[in-house]
């Protein structure tokens, strides 16, 4: 126990004297998570949270144009712009402005669109009433129009964004067409049954089955969505925790080079106690880093107009995961410090390997948006195990039962890395 405690105290003294190391371990990660949360805030926001200017050219001046403009504006997602510098926007000007990238979307409602819809509704009603043996003839155009509502997108617009706009406008078109048709049917029914006054409304309910969103969790429900803070704070915290391999590997190589390792091995007693002390200290540093960054997510990021981090309701499980990540990161540092001969080699390999493991492990962007093969590869990264476990706690209200498999993976990987490091060291000595 004395060896273990003495080693922890020695590592603590070394860390306190290493101002650059302290900055690397504690200040840089705070800056990193703040910057990443800020720059990834917009891409992470749902479309309803982002307001776009939408150029609207209404050549129809009828019900469709009004519906589309009112419908788009009512969602709060779009600012409808139908005039610039006091002049109505023309189709050509709208196309030009979107192509220049000054506006993301433009919608052109063609002339006669409402009339065309009315004519089509009349044709349907005429057909129905004729089949019912009634002689009603609402006015219709002899040749149906072939009109389209035109949408221009900024060439840089994303596919998902285009899809969402398409869907919305299509819904408005359907809604106008349905409303027109129902209007015509009601009008005909009223004229057939003279006892119904004009003020009576005919309730026609089209939607029999609706949509209702519910949480999948049990017990206390969390009202948390995966936003920039919920993703970036844990993700980049895990990334920063793994960067502890740099000081650990440097520490190991220096001890080997200056003979301290030799001296420690020559002292009676197991070297494992010294190694355990070193590991405990660095795992502790990792856990401290983790909670420091969580505090930044809770108290600092909201000051920058970002959402507040929600840490879930299972602090024990969170601590366990943080410890598991710290253990895997520390063991990786010991492995790199054992395998490589110079601090430069260890620094380069350590840093690049963590960047790769983090990229494939869903730290930069969530694994779910990666191609299927990359997702499979990503699930092999210890960083993804840590992030999955944290997401289980923070977003899915998971407890230890949810995370123990990922924690076990982290611990076993850490032990395997230590075993490899031991084998390499033994081989080197002989």
């Amino acid at each position: 126990m004395l060896r273990l405690l003495a080693t922890i105290r020695k590592e603590w003294q070394l860390l306190l004297r290493d101002k650059t190391g302290i900055i690397l371990l504690f200040v840089m990660p705070v800056v990193l998570i703040t910057v990443m949360a800020l720059i990834q805030d917009a891409p992470f926001k749902d479309y309803q949270d982002v307001k776009f200017d939408i150029l609207t050219v209404d050549n129809d001046h009828g019900r469709l144009g009004r519906y589309v403009k009112e419908g788009l504006a009512s969602g709060g997602q779009f600012n409808i712009i139908d005039s610039l510098e006091g002049k109505p926007v023309t189709a050509e000007r709208a196309k030009e402005l979107v192509n220049d990238g000054r506006y993301k979307i433009s919608i052109i409602i063609p002339e006669g669109a409402t009339a065309s819809i009315v004519s089509n509704a009349n044709r349907i009603v005429n057909d129905i009433t004729h089949r019912m043996g009634m002689s009603v003839s609402l006015p219709v155009k002899k040749v149906p129009d072939s009109l389209n509502v035109t949408i221009y997108f900024d060439p840089a617009a994303k596919k998902a964004f285009k899809g969402a706009i398409h869907q919305s406008v299509d819904n408005f078109l359907t809604q106008v067409e349905t409303d027109m048709l129902l209007d015509r049917i009601k009008h005909q029914l009223r004229s057939k049954d003279s006892t119904v006054s004009d003020t009576d409304t005919l309730a026609i309910r089209l939607q029999a089955v609706g949509l209702k969103e519910q949480s999948t969790g049990s017990g206390k429900q969390l009202d948390v969505i995966s936003n920039s803070v919920q993703h970036n704070v844990p993700a980049w915290s895990i990334f920063a925790m793994f960067f502890i391999v740099i000081p650990i590997a440097g520490n190991m190589i220096r001890e080997r080079e200056d003979g301290s390792l030799l001296r420690m091995k020559l002292i009676p007693g197991s070297y494992l106690a010294i190694l355990a002390g070193k590991m405990l200290f660095f795992v502790g540093v990792c856990v401290l880093q983790f909670y420091l960054m969580m505090l930044v997510g809770i108290y600092v990021l909201p000051l920058l107009d970002l959402p507040q981090l929600v840490m879930g309701q299972h602090p024990g499980a969170t601590l366990l995961v943080a410890g598991g990540i710290g253990l895997a990161a520390t063991a990786y540092g010991i492995l790199i410090g054992t395998v490589f001969k110079t601090p430069n080699q260890a620094l380069n390999f350590g840093a690049i390997s963590i960047v790769i493991l983090s990229a494939i492990g869903g730290i930069w962007i969530p694994l779910e948006v990666m191609p299927a093969k990359m997702q499979l590869l990503g699930h092999l990264s210890p960083l993804s195990w840590g992030l999955d476990a944290i997401n289980d706690i923070y977003l899915r209200n998971g407890d230890i039962e949810f995370v123990w498999k990922n924690v076990l993976r982290l611990i076993l990987t850490g032990l395997a890395m230590l075993a490899i490091a031991g084998w390499v060291e033994k081989r080197r000595m002989n």
Binding site: R3, A6, Q13, L14, D258, G259, L262, R263, M264, L266
Partner: protein
């Protein structure tokens, strides 16, 4: 009883075509100051590493104070040996007291007894005024002296020193050599390697000159000089046996 006994020791490192040690054999009595001398690449560091139990020999026998260097005796031998490596095996960012407290703790010493022992040795080596100064701020001689203290905290019966006076000034060297003589007078055996043959001649009661993994000659320095009329000092004896060819 012999302090150190090495018989037919062979060692080839993995990946190396040439054996480093080729049947090395020598013996030093307990309580003596012995020198292990040889040109670069002779196998001195490998021999010391095997004596300390850090590296295993491929074959042959090594005994320290009568105990065979094998797994069952390794811990006991660690208590017997104190090693002063050629490098300054101390943490440069820590002070002498912090370093020595740490290594003392690893030996199982703690509290007031350890601190008194540390202060005693710091005074003995003239480092008491710099006790709380970080090691990287020490001069070369101060670092060497602190390096020796870290090896003797557990009062070893056999002190192994790998070039303990390399790169130090005359005053520090004189202090270190005087300490070794005094420590030896208290009953400890000392095994020392150096390229400073004048120093070895004055300090050692016995020397082994080795080359290419073998013992070339062993004996008292003065006896060896007298045995070779063309040699005026130990350096002449050394060159007589190892030749003038460069060993880069």
């Amino acid at each position: 009883m012999s302090g150190i006994s090495v018989k037919e020791l062979y060692k080839t490192y993995k990946g190396s075509a040439e054996p480093t040690l080729k049947g090395l054999t020598f013996q030093f009595g307990e309580g003596r100051i012995a020198g292990l001398l040889g040109p670069n690449g002779a196998g001195k560091t490998t021999t010391i590493s095997i004596l300390c139990g850090i590296v295993r020999g491929d074959s042959g026998e090594v005994k320290i104070h009568g105990l065979k260097q094998q797994a069952s005796h390794r811990e006991t031998i660690k208590h017997i040996i104190g090693i002063v490596p050629q490098q300054i095996a101390l943490y440069p960012q820590l002070s002498a007291v912090e370093n020595l407290t740490y290594f003392g703790n690893l030996y199982g010493f703690k509290g007031k007894a350890l601190q008194e022992k540390i202060m005693h040795y710091l005074e003995l080596f003239g480092l008491e005024k710099s006790a709380h100064k970080e090691i990287h701020k020490y001069s070369g001689g101060m670092k060497r002296r602190a390096n020796i203290i870290a090896a003797i905290l557990h009062d070893p019966k056999l002190l192994v020193l790998d070039e303990p006076t390399a790169g130090v000034d005359v005053q520090s060297r004189s202090m270190i050599l005087q300490f070794l003589r005094d420590y030896n007078r208290q009953g400890a055996s000392i095994l020392y390697t150096s390229h400073l043959l004048e120093e070895a001649q004055s300090l050692c009661e016995e020397v082994v000159i080795m080359d290419e993994g073998r013992m070339i000659v062993q004996g008292n320095p003065l006896t060896l000089i007298h045995q070779h009329p063309d040699c005026n000092n130990l350096e002449d004896v050394f060159l007589h046996f190892t030749g003038n060819a460069l060993r880069d």
